[in-house]
């Protein structure tokens, strides 16, 4: 197996997240109306990091939750049942701007499911999407508002996001 290609190292990942945080602040002047929801699994630690960065800029805590989309997927009868992870949204999303966070944007189906799942918790004022990597190959009309890095990929390649929260060194790599 060839060595995986590194797209982002730890420093570049941190820089990308910081830039995303500033873009979120620029887009949303009223920081008190913004909540962050990370999509299980890769989006959850990134959502927590983004929440911390936003809190540092705004000077107040930013509510941060996690969302599992397994029960809302559109391919449940075509695959082994997914591993359902906890959904923890200990705040009301109604009327808020929800920044959905995921690690890699690919087909867009996870985000479609996430928007459906989020609706069960209330009616957000608006939903914005932040992703660390946009690798293309969309199958649905979905576009991210904030992107850490656009990475053209072949459909068969795998993009892996390694995170310190999972016991690895921060990095994004492509495996052929």
């Amino acid at each position: 197996m060839p060595e995986p290609t590194v797209i982002l190292d730890a420093v570049a990942m941190q820089r990308a997240l910081t830039r995303i945080a500033h873009e979120v602040v620029e887009r949303n002047e009223a920081g008190s109306e913004v909540v962050v929801v990370g999509v299980q699994r890769g989006g959850v630690p990134l959502g927590q990091r983004l929440g911390t960065l936003l809190a540092g800029i705004w000077g107040h805590a930013v509510p941060t939750g996690s969302l599992d989309v397994s029960m809302h997927r559109d391919d449940l009868d075509q695959r082994v049942a997914p591993n359902v992870q906890p959904t923890v949204i200990p705040f009301d999303v109604t009327g808020k701007t929800v920044v959905l966070v995921d690690d890699v944007l690919f087909s867009g189906r996870t985000i479609r499911a996430a928007m459906d799942a989020l609706n069960d918790f209330g009616r957000p004022r608006r939903i914005q999407l932040a992703v660390l990597i946009d690798r293309g190959h969309r199958e649905l009309p979905i576009k991210a508002d904030f992107v850490g890095k656009n990475v053209p990929t072949a459909y068969t390649e795998r993009v892996r996001v390694r995170l310190a929260e999972k016991g690895e060194t921060d990095a994004v790599v492509i495996e052929k």
Binding site: D68, M71, H72, D77, R79, V80, N83, F106, D120
Partner: protein
């Protein structure tokens, strides 16, 4: 962890990992039941038949609500109202149902092995909701879920199952599930209802109730199954209560954190004192709540077990 089974027929054939997968998945579904919107679209467009050839209220209600909360379409059959009453065989009934393109059959039947038979002759997924005195897998899964939720673990716990073991499908399923997960299971009741042969399933058998519950972390009471006993297995209900009933005096001699379970329906004053059934150490109603979550998890997992066995990215 991943689940690749198309049916849930019994606990005996599951691995400890399978059981843990159900329990972990059920935790997520329990959270769904606590939301304002308690419904998810996981089984949208799927049809479930609840084929209850033997009477049941709580299991059928629990399955029905689980299916509704997964957005499935539901058909209910009961023995009294179906063509089984007119002499149709189970196989014909099931094949007629399948001709309607159904996806799941949840079956309760008085004959042991009926779900296994359906699984052989049908394409639909089969879920055993209780077959004769054989197994009642979803009850064992909800019992195990409730114990793990309260005690944080299963392995190493002392679980005493007290009552009619011989005729109880709940007991058999519970024994399989608990021993696979590493609990130490003690069975107790009249020797006619708790024969020594159960030691072969890895349990301890005793006929002294005070000894059986003294070190228990969980006391699981089972109902006397009048309907399955062909002859009288003990002299009288009164004598059963005085020898084996869980009374306040007996409970006072157990570990202070021992918890009480009962799959229902309860015969108050027979296997358990009425006030104990309602005391804070009783998990009876939590078992009912958890039953929903566990049944949702089973339907969700079995649905995935029907598809091609590859894991999507």
């Amino acid at each position: 962890m991943s689940w690749s089974r198309k049916h849930l027929l019994d606990i005996e054939s599951l691995t400890a990992e399978d059981i843990t997968t159900v329990l972990d998945t059920a935790r997520a579904f329990k959270a769904v039941g606590e939301r304002a919107i308690k419904k998810v679209p996981a089984l949208r467009g799927k049809t479930v038949v609840n084929l209850f050839v033997e009477p049941s209220t709580r299991t059928r209600t629990s399955f029905e609500l689980s299916e509704q909360r997964l957005s499935a379409d539901i058909i209910n059959f009961t023995a009294e109202a179906s063509s089984l009453k007119k002499g149709e065989t189970l196989k014909d009934t099931a094949r007629n149902l399948e001709a309607l393109n159904i996806d799941f059959i949840v079956i309760r039947h008085s004959a042991s092995g009926a779900p296994h038979f359906l699984a052989r002759v049908l394409n639909a997924s089969v879920i055993n909701a209780g077959d004769g005195a054989h197994e009642h897998p979803t009850q064992a899964l909800l019992d195990t879920f409730t114990i793990r939720e309260k005690k944080g673990r299963i392995a190493g716990l002392n679980v005493t199952i007290l009552g009619d073991i011989l005729y109880s499908r709940v007991a058999r399923s519970d024994i399989w599930a608990l021993t696979k997960l590493g609990a130490k299971v003690t069975l107790c009741g009249p020797s006619t209802l708790v024969p020594r042969v159960f030691e072969q399933m890895g349990c301890r058998v005793t006929h002294d109730v005070d000894e059986a519950i003294r070190d228990a972390d969980i006391i699981n009471l089972l109902r006397i199954q009048h309907e399955r006993q062909r002859k009288s297995m003990f002299p009288s209900l009164g004598e059963y209560t005085s020898f084996f009933g869980l009374t306040a005096a007996r409970l006072a001699r157990t570990k202070p954190d021992a918890l009480i379970m009962h799959p229902g329906p309860i015969n108050r004053g027979v296997e358990i004192d009425s006030e104990i059934a309602d005391c804070p150490r009783s998990l009876v109603l939590q078992q009912v709540t958890n039953g929903l979550a566990v049944r949702m998890a089973v339907l969700f997992l079995v649905n995935g077990g029907k598809g091609p066995q590859e894991v999507a990215p």
